[in-house]
Each structure stands twice: as C-alpha cells, then as structure tokens.
C-alpha cells in the first residue's frame, strides 16, 4: 500500500460472512429442536456440495481457490438454502439445489459480488418448480423420528417399521388447501399443526431469526431498512384484507411469522450483493418483496413465495439503485441547512 489511506478497518468479507453464519445459529438450533436432526444433515450436505462446487468452479475459472473459499459466502448460501428446503427431503434434492445455486446462479456470473440473483433463492426456486411434490413434503413438527431414522430416510427414503407417513404439508400449504375447500381461517388455524402465531414451532424459529437479524443490525452488518420494509410490505396487504374479511384472510402476524417470511427478512433481502445500496432503495426493495410475498402466497400458485418475490425484485435492483441515488454533499434541493 503506497497510497493513502494507510489505515483500514480490519474487517474482512470472511468476518462478515462468519457473523452471518453465527446469527443463523439460534434459528438452526430451534429448527433442529422442533423438526429433528434431519435439518443438520441437510446443512451438512449443502455445505459440502457448496464448497466442492465453489472450488471446482474457481478452478475452472482460473481463480485462486483457497482465497475465495475462505470468504465464507458459499457456506452462507448453503445454510440459507438448507433452511429453505424440507428438512427430511431426499439427499439429492439439497445437493442439486446447492449445485444450481453455486454453479449457475453465482459462479457463472463471475463469483462473489457479481451475481444479480440471490443464489440460495435461485436454487430453491429451481427445485420447487422442477420437483413440486417432493418439495411439499415436510416432516411435521412433533412427528419425531430418531436422528438415525431421519438420516436413513434422507439417504434411502426408508422408514422404520411401523411408521408409514411422516411427511405433511407446510402450515401455509395446509391453510391454502383448507381455504379452497371452504374452511375458514379461524377453524383451520385452530388445528394442532398451528401454534400461537403461525405453524407450531415455526413462530419460535422465526423469533430466533429475528434475534439474529437484530444482532447483525447491531454489528452494522445489515441495514434496518430492508427487513423492516419487507415486514411492512407483508402487513400492508395482510392487515386491511384481514380487517375486511377475517374468515378468508389470515391475520398479518400469521403472515409475518409463517413460512420463510422472517428468514427472508433477516437473511435473504439483506443480502448486500443482490440488494440495493441506497437507503431509499432498500426501503423500496424490501417493501416490494413484502407485497409480492403476500400476493403470491394468497393469490398465486405457490404456498410460500419469498424466493419468487426476492428473485423478481432482484431484477429491479439496478434500476432502483439508479433512481434513488441520493444527491451529493451540498446538492440538496431546497437545502438541508
């Protein structure tokens, strides 16, 4: 370094990514608690596939492998993807999803920092479009298999004797099905698959994600605008519709705590690479994602929709950034003084 500044804050991308992984830990712990150790297997599978895919692609692209592998960004993608996928999904599903995320959505665009779409969400979207049936099978909370049985099921799809079905629809999926069958929201949410706010257990996991987001915000690693705007976007449609017709529309808290909303708000829309950089842009981006999440969830064809909402808004990010560039120092209209 022969030119100024000769001082630099000793933060690195690796440290940023490590803190993001750390912030995911409480959510993962609760996830494993409610849904069993299968989730940990999925995370391990995703991590290994992601690192292998990243290394192979870096080698193919002639990039330094170790230098980029230790940035931790592949692990973040892997973990987020694993948390979005069914915890007892077959082993090849998470592997295919991860390969898609790393190889196509990230490395083919030029690797870290150059991908226009959130890699984890691309991996998830590909899987839910290509394998909707398998992706809809979630191990319901409380239907506990032992860790070994879960492991066996993930790799061999073999269930222990005496158990004939462990998979069930997600709470969001179930609600949607029930509503089409003419049931009311109130009756449906009274079923045991739901807890206080949303899916039983899911609300606690969501709170753990929220805690992780608060930690990242305190560490100045994520802005407050995007997550808050996303939750506001979800509530912006959920609240009036619920007020008008509570029998057909679930309450805003349900939507905020159900599915991947909180994971999305805390860890997906806050991805710096694929999100806007201006404060106003972050508000617009987050809010739009929130609105789309609700629209697709309630009126669209997919029970959960965070991935699609994020990917759709990823397209708009360059324009949002351009349109919301703040005026330079001294160039404010009307003056701030």
């Amino acid at each position: 370094m022969t030119s100024s500044p000769f001082m630099a804050r000793p933060t690195t991308v690796s440290m940023v990514m490590l803190k993001v992984l750390g912030a995911l830990l409480p959510g993962i712990a609760l996830y494993a608690w409610f849904y069993g150790a299968g989730m940990l297997v999925q995370i391990a599978l995703a991590s290994i596939s992601a690192l292998a895919a990243e290394a192979a692609m870096l080698k193919a692209r002639g990039q330094p492998i170790g230098f980029f592998l230790k940035d931790g960004s592949a692990l973040v993608t892997a973990w987020l993807l694993a948390l979005s996928m069914p915890p007892l999904g077959a082993w090849w599903m998470i592997v295919v999803a991860t390969l898609f995320a790393i190889v196509i959505a990230k490395q083919l665009y030029g690797g870290l920092g150059n991908n226009p779409f959130n890699p984890a969400m691309v991996g998830f979207a590909v899987m839910i479009v290509a394998f909707p049936a398998q992706m809809a099978q979630w191990g319901s909370a409380g239907a506990h298999l032992s860790a070994g049985d879960q492991l066996a099921y993930i790799f061999t799809r073999a269930l222990p004797p005496g158990v004939d079905a462990i998979a069930s629809a997600t709470p969001l999926d179930h609600l949607k099905t029930q509503l089409t069958l003419g049931a009311s929201v109130g009756d449906t949410l009274a079923e045991p698959v739901y807890g206080h706010l949303a899916g039983a257990g899911g609300e606690w996991i969501a709170l753990a994600y929220l805690a992780g987001a608060l930690f990242l915000w305190r560490k100045r690693l994520i802005p407050w605008q995007t997550p808050l705007a996303m939750l506001a976007g979800v509530a912006a449609l959920a609240l009036p519709l619920w007020l008008v017709d509570p029998a057909h529309f679930a309450n805003p808290l349900f939507h905020v705590f159900a599915g991947a909303t909180m994971l999305g708000a805390a860890f997906i829309v806050t991805d710096p690479v694929t999100g806007p950089t201006t404060p106003r842009g972050r508000l617009i981006f987050g809010f739009s994602v929130g609105v789309l999440v609700y629209v697709i969830r309630v009126f669209g064809g997919f029970p959960d929709s965070v991935a699609f909402a994020v990917l759709i808004m990823n397209i708009a990010v360059p324009f949002i950034d351009q349109a919301t560039r703040p005026p330079a120092f001294g160039a404010k209209k009307g003056g701030r003084a």
């Binding site: 370094m1 022969t2 030119s3 100024s4 500044p5 000769f6 001082m7 630099a8 804050r9 933060t11 690195t12 991308v13 440290m15 940023v16 230098f67 940035d71 960004s73 690797g111 870290l112 920092g113 150059n114 100045r220 690693l221 802005p223 710096p272 690479v273 999100g275 950089t277 201006t278 950034d321 560039r325 703040p326 005026p327 330079a328 120092f329 001294g330 160039a331 404010k332 003056g335 701030r336 003084a337």
Partner: protein, 635 residues
Amino acid sequence: MRVLHAFHGGVHPPENKAQSTGTPIATAPIPPRLFVPMSQSLGNAALPCVKTGDEVLKGQKIGEADGRLSAAVHAPTSGKIVDIAPHAYAHPSGLAELCVVIEPDGLDAWGERKPLADWQALPAADVRAFLADMGVVGLGGAVFPTHLKLSAPSLDTLVINGAECEPFISCDDMLMRERAADVVAGITIVATLMRPKEILIGIEDNKPEAIAAMREACKGNHFEVVTVPTIYPSGGAKQLIRRLTGKEVPHGTRSTDMGVQCFNVATVYTVERAIEHGEPVTSRIVTLTGDVERPHNVEALIGTPMNFLIDYAGRRTGVSEVLMGGPMMGFALPDEDAGVTKASNCLIARSPALLPDRPPAMPCIRCGDCASACPAELQPMDLYWFAKAKNFGKAQEWKLFDCIECGACSYVCPSQIPLVDYYRFAKGEIWGAERDKKAADRARARHEFRQYRVERDKEEKAQRLAERAAAKDLAAPSSQSTLPADDAKAAAIRAAMERAANATSANVAAPTLSDDAKKAAIEAAMARAAARKAEKQAGETQRSANVTQPAAPAGMDDAKKAAIQAALERAAARKAEKQAADTQEQGSANRVKPAGPATMDDAKKAAIQVAMERAAARKAVREAQDAGQKDKNRR
C-alpha cells in the same frame, strides 16, 4: 450551547495522537543544508531573487511571488546560497522542483524585521499585499495563499479550523496549547480585515487542553470556541463549515459565496507573526511520529530535509517509508531528502507493523459501508465500478469530482478495496483526456483559421481580377492608362485595411471578453504567423512576376497588397502582444474575482472557450458563404 449540525458519514480511526503530545514543541536543529522549494503555494512557484554565492539573512526574501496565486519564499536561516537547482520535493509524483539550497552559517541571524505596525489604519489591500510578501499561505495542507482568502466583500461567519481530524497529527493541537494567545491575536487581525458577524473556532473534543487554552485566550472578545465531535474528516473545511453553521458548500462553489470563510489555526498564527513581528513564514510546526524513538512536535525550518527530522526523532529499524500528512490523506515521500514545505504538518515513520499493508482486495459485495461513510454523500461502490470499467462519463455523472479523497470509503471497505486509488485513476484519466481534447481543439482552430485565410485570399484575388476586367472593359476606348492598376491597388488596400480593422477590433474586444493574457498572446502569435506567411507569399509573387511578364501588373499589385497586409498584421500582432503584456502586468488581481484554486484554469478555460466560439463563428460564416455547396456531413 451552539447547535451543531451533523455531516453525513465519516469514520473514527484510532487516533494515535497521544504519542506526540507528551512533550512541548521543540526546536529542530538546523540541518547542514536546507533545500527550500520555490513551490510553496497553490499557484506558480516563486521566482528566485538571489543567486548562488549570495549571503542571506534569516527572513530575507529569496523567491518573489509569481502571479496572484503565488506567495513569496524567504530564507529560513542565515547562510550562503550554494545552489539553485531542482531537488527532491515532497509530492507523490516524485518530480523534482526548483529549490534554493542554503548552507546555514549557524548564527540564525535575522535580517531586518519590519512589522506592519499601523495595519489597522492601512487599506486592506495593503495588508493583503504585505501578507503575500511574507509568504503567508494556508498551513492546513492546501497552501492556498492567505491574502486571496482575506478579500471577501462580506462575511457572516469566520471559521477557524482547529479540528485536526487526521490520526497521528498533533501540530495544531500543540500550537493551540502553547501559543493560544498568538493564535487569537491572529484571529483578531483576520476578523478586523474581514468583519464577520460571528467567529467560531472549531476544535475536536479529543483536544481538551487545546480547547481550554483557546477558551482562556479568547476571554474578553466574542470569539467562540466550539467543541466538535471527533469524527474524521471534520477538519475538512466544508465538513467543519457544515458542522458549525449548517451550511453545505456544494462542489465547485466557494464557501465565501455562502458568507463563510475558513482559516487553519496555524495560518492565523503566521498572520500574527508576520504583521505584529515582521516575521515571514520560515518555519512551521511538524509532528514527528510513527515508528520513532521520540514522537513529538518540532518547530522546523522550511527546507529541512525530512530524513534529517525523522533521524532527529530517532528512526527505528523497520521503518519502510515516511509519510507526509496524516495516514488518511497523506502520501509516502518518494524521496525522504525533500525539504519541509509549508504544507508539511506531519511526518510519520511507517513500518508495516505500525500501519500494515492492505490485504489483497476481495470483490465488492455492495455492502454500502462506503456510501454510509462518504462525507461527500456519494455512492463509492458505483464510482468504483465505473472507474474499473473505465466508464468515465458515468463516473462524472455520479459526481466523481465531488470526491474529496478523504479515504473514509477505503477505510471501511470489508473487501479491502483501495477505492480512493480508483477515483484518483479515473480523475487522472479524465484530466488527461481533457488536456488532449483542448490540444486538439487548439490545433483544429489553427487549421480552420488557415483554411479560412487561404479561402479569403483566393476570393479577394478573384474579386480583384473581376474588378480589373470590368475596369478594362470600361477603359477600353481610352488609352492603356494606369487606372485599372490603381483601382486594383485601391481594392486591395481597402480589403487589407478592413481585415486589419477586424483583427484590431477582435484584439480589443477579446481581452474585455475573457480578461485573459494568454488568449491575446495566441491571437498575436496567429497574426504574426499570418503576417510572415503573407510576406513570404509577397516575395513569391514578386519572383513569379519577374518570370512571367504578362502577369506583371497583377503580380506587383499582389505583392504590394500582401506587403501592406503583412505590415498591418504585424502592427496588429504588436498591439495584441502589448495588450497581452499589459494584462499580465496588471496581474488581473483586481479585475478577476478572487476565485479558488481553479482561477488559472478558469481563465484558460474561458480563453479556450472564446477561441472555440470564434472558430465556430468563422465556420458558420464560411458555411453561409458556400451555402450552395454545403454538404450535410459538416452540420
């Protein structure tokens, strides 16, 4: 309590100031040789007014100011001038600058010191001229001539900058602690000259002793010492003005236009030394810090070689380079032999252990930390992208030139990208392209003028021939009188005189348009060239006339005409040159507004603009003339 205004962004790097504030300001020893650079102000380098072998006394003028942005340079101590030659200079470019080399006699004997005793009674212009003559320039680092900043017509707020926000630097802190009374006396002088409504002294809250000393010294007058939070770059003039007054000075405008003027504490100190004590700027306080045994502040003579000072402070092993200025905006000295200048506020002996090298850069992850830190409220990650892609148009659109290169973005970047380097690169490329474009424009203007001249001569010749033919027809019955020739001569003289009149009026009008000496000089050169050419043509015509007998009368006319034209053009050229000289003599100081550092460039720019407009006008005229055969491509 005064209401402070936040400015956007900023960072808080480790301060590292305590190392050098433990001991009082020491006087640095006189080195065996002083290398006093003539370039000590934002404008032209001073012109040496001594010669090798001269004996000089401390404070004796050794360099005359050259132009209004320049300031005089003085002998820092008594001794003998041993050389006047280019020598290593404290600039990142590493280019040598003209230095007066003095071998001190060790006596440090002052010449006559003449304070400006009755400065309150003198016209402000005289005080300003005195300060220029005493070499008073901004000691904050920009070395902007102080006399220029003192001529604001009216002022709301006078801001005295004691913020000193860069890490490691403590020279202003120590100055305020130890010489607060002199600083305040300097402020009084500046305030008397500028008559501001309020006077605010901004000091960062990490200098409690300086704040206390200045508060004490300010007792009994209406100067207000304002404590500002320690956030880099609050010592930037625009940031400090924003902090203290809430006014934001946009890029390209001067704070004076908004009724605020800002002076560094060290500058007002030298104002006081000059006016009250008759001492020109021959030394300055320099912080010696970093990897040295005794980090402290010294009062060092201008021209003291920097390695001499670092050795004096006790250079440690492992020092890889010496930085001048702070770690955020300073630069590594290409040659440590360079002499201290009026801008040398701090020398940091750098070792990789103290200020480690930047780790290799990762790709930008668009985290936006740089945008949050940018005090100019730019989008550094976008500028980086544009600079990297050499998309300079977009970079300018994204306000690249609003960047003050404070380095806050580089400092916070988690990918460790040397962002500021990219902006410097982009700015350099844009400046280079502009230089090339200006050169091309000048060449084009010259070429077009030549074409115009050739065409005009052709037309005149045709006209002359036509007139002669007409006259011949008319005069056919009568004898072969000299009348046609006279007519032709008369026409030629008329045409030449018209041209000369045009040229003269252009020369007269141009300076009033642009106020620019350079423009007139170019005009003169062009006229001279035209004159030379005309003379040459005249000679040629004469020669050809001698050969081809039938064409003789016409040839003679041409020659005469050309000679007259040449003479007229020479006269015009002389006139233009004289005007150019006049303009230069007047220094345009009073006519041109005291613009910022850009004045010279502005004048040049204006001149080029005028020239271009003239070229365009010529082109339009020509186009109108041959409208018949106008081709679409030229539009």
